[in-house]
Amino acid sequence: MSNHHIALAVNGKPVEADVESRLLLVHFLREQLNLTGTHIGCDTGHCGACTVDMNDMSIKSCMCFAVQADGAQITTIEGIAHADGTLSAVQEGFRLMHGLQCGYCTPGMILRAARLLMENPDPTEEEIRQGVSGNLCRCTGYMNIVKAIQYAAAKLHETPLVEAAQ
């Protein structure tokens, strides 16, 4: 067993910590940083509830050790709203289009959708469905999740510079 000093940025804030090598990133975020918006679902890398953004990639934080995030830039659901606290386009889409019921998958869905739209600002329905295929939702049947992401895509087109920077 080894311990490691890590330094990273979480939601734009610098964080330093000493972590045991086997500590998973999701446990680090939830239990050491108290960022409990990132959920643990299946804990086997399938469901995507633990999705966060790391170095411009959507990753499953239950399949990554905290020590692997040394030097990384991480965004969690707590960091996805605008600086003034208003909802981002993706959050607004999920709210207005009823893209959630129980809400358990939602943080992961929103993080994934935000990254998807940064890579592909004008996705087809098929591309949206493929894009969130690593995120399972057992409530909605995905219809309204697709609509939520379509809403966000349309909204981002209206104000591309401000929103795309988020």
């Binding site: 086997r22 804990d43 999705t51 990639m57 990753i59 493929q130």
Partner: protein, 288 residues
């Protein structure tokens, strides 16, 4: 789920990594994308005492051309492969395959080196590498060597790799311009391992198949290069009778397990079906 305790190492060169793996012995594992290894560690089906993280090793990422070869660094991710313009033009079967592996999050992290080196019969790239007659470049403290993908796999999780070996790159002689290609994968759901899958590369000349190569995924404890089926297709008109014979030859070399993907007989039959579909799609894509 919390994995067993281990020491974490992050070497910065191939030499350093290979020496570490050699010195630390059987209880050390290289770590690439981690989506096979960390999952096993959480279930405590794997309890390595040392992880040697290859993410900080210089020079293992990226795609380049060297003469007739396309060279892909082992730590190049599936996401990188999907978005690489050179591969899209010269080896589009890699994008087609990578897009059928797992899901977007896994593809950001999962590497082509990990996919081919792990020896998991469910992985998709090994059969594609056999289809393309790829070579794996392997570094060790004793020096470097190259092994054909067709000679690399001995059994489930049993490959040519020994302690201290690291797959550093994959070398593929690009098929001719205008070649046809397809990776047809039957799976129960998005992101799943194949029930059966077939990779096909072929070239057409005057409407007939000049050359063909076929390989199969997850219908034996190793990927299978279907040599006999490839020979049947080459020189043929790719008509129904040829496809029947090629499919039968491919099915004959399979030895799938009966498991959640279906009974063995079904999976063997599906290998033939995937072969037919892959050949037809490759033919439609090929320029005569």
């Amino acid at each position: 789920m919390i994995p067993g305790a281990f020491d974490y190492h992050r070497p910065t060169s191939v030499n350093e990594a290979a020496l570490l793996l050699r010195q630390l012995g059987e209880d050390a594992r290289p770590l690439a994308g981690g989506h096979s290894l960390i999952a096993l560690m959480k279930l405590r089906l794997a309890m390595p005492e040392h992880l040697v993280d290859l993410s900080g090793v210089d020079g293992l990422k990226g795609v380049r051309r060297e003469g007739d070869d396309l060279v892909i660094g082992a730590m190049t991710t599936q996401h990188d492969i999907i978005h690489d313009a050179m591969l899209a033009e010269s080896l589009p079967i890699l994008r087609e395959t990578a897009n059928q592996i797992a899901d977007p999050q896994v593809r950001y992290r999962g590497t082509i080196g990990g996919n081919v080196a792990n020896g998991d019969p469910g992985n998709d790239m090994p059969a594609v590498m056999q289809c393309l007659d790829a070579r794996f470049r392997i570094a060790s403290p004793d020096g470097e060597r190259e092994i054909s993908a067709r000679d690399f796999y001995h059994g489930a999780f049993d490959t040519e790799l020994h302690r201290g070996d690291i797959v550093t790159e994959i070398r593929i002689k690009a098929p001719p311009r205008g070649h046809g290609y397809a990776y047809e994968k039957m799976k129960r759901k998005t992101g799943d391992y194949a029930t059966a899958a077939a990779a096909v590369i072929l070239t057409l000349e005057g409407g007939r198949c000049a050359r063909a190569s076929v390989a199969l995924t997850n219908v034996a404890d190793t990927p299978l290069w279907a040599e006999e089926a490839s020979k049947i297709l080459a020189g043929s008109d790719l008509g129904k009778e040829t496809l029947d014979r090629a499919a039968a030859a491919a099915e004959a070399i399979t030895n799938p397990a009966s498991d959640l993907h279906g009974p063995a007989e079904f999976r063997a039959k599906m290998a033939g079906v995937m072969l037919r579909r892959a050949v037809m799609r490759a033919q439609a894509r090929a320029k005569a």
